[in-house]
């Protein structure tokens, strides 16, 4: 029951971030919103895993957090420098 309430709260947060993502004024607002959606998804995967009785889902959420971080760094660097290679 508690896990369900947390999942419901996450979905409300998700909708609020989605509004920010669609109505975002600058590109950086949108990147930040996408990053926040990633964080919400990481938490939701963990909570859903415990709710369904499969705590192994934490592995998947760690991978998701990692890819989320690297993806955000890559997008920011691409907008900053124009290419990913140089320093």
């Amino acid at each position: 029951m508690m896990f369900l309430a947390i999942l419901f709260a996450f979905s409300v947060c998700f909708l609020l971030i989605l509004i920010r993502l669609i109505a975002g004024k600058t590109t950086y607002d949108r990147i930040l919103a996408a990053n926040s959606i990633g964080t919400i998804v990481v938490l939701a995967i963990s909570i859903h895993g415990f709710y369904m009785g499969r705590p192994e889902f934490i592995d998947i959420s760690i991978v998701y957090a990692l890819i989320n971080f690297i993806g955000t760094v890559a997008v920011l660097k691409l907008f900053d420098k124009g290419k990913l290679g140089d320093k």
Binding site: E56, F57, D59, I67, V73, L84
Partner: protein
Amino acid sequence: MNNLILKVCTKVLFTPIILFGLYVQFHGDFGPGGGFQAGVIVAAAFILYAMVFGVDKCKIIMPSKLNFFLLVLGAFLYGFVGVVGLILGEPYLSYDLLGSNKQSGQHIGILLVEFGVGLTVCNVMICLFYSFANFKFGRNKND
């Protein structure tokens, strides 16, 4: 990129990412995971390093020659385990005769094949990043 926070984060995160990749690799029999996922996770560590410190710095710790060698070695390991089964008089990629009994043979076979897959996937990802990293994107086409 000259961001101190990002550099320190990358240096701190580099080893745990590879450790987590190895965990996914060798824990794949019991939980979610396996060779493909582990390869991508280990490659993600190198790609993060290359993005933050530059491809030239990353080519010091993972030179292109070593990259190609490991790429071919992984595929070779996969094929070799299959051919060993063929030589011992079983179908291709059958693991039964690799160990002393059937169960340990299958254990050894799956471990080796998954390790080959992981090695190949990891190095293909790094190779792709090396190839496309200096590809110019969009807005500053003129210089």
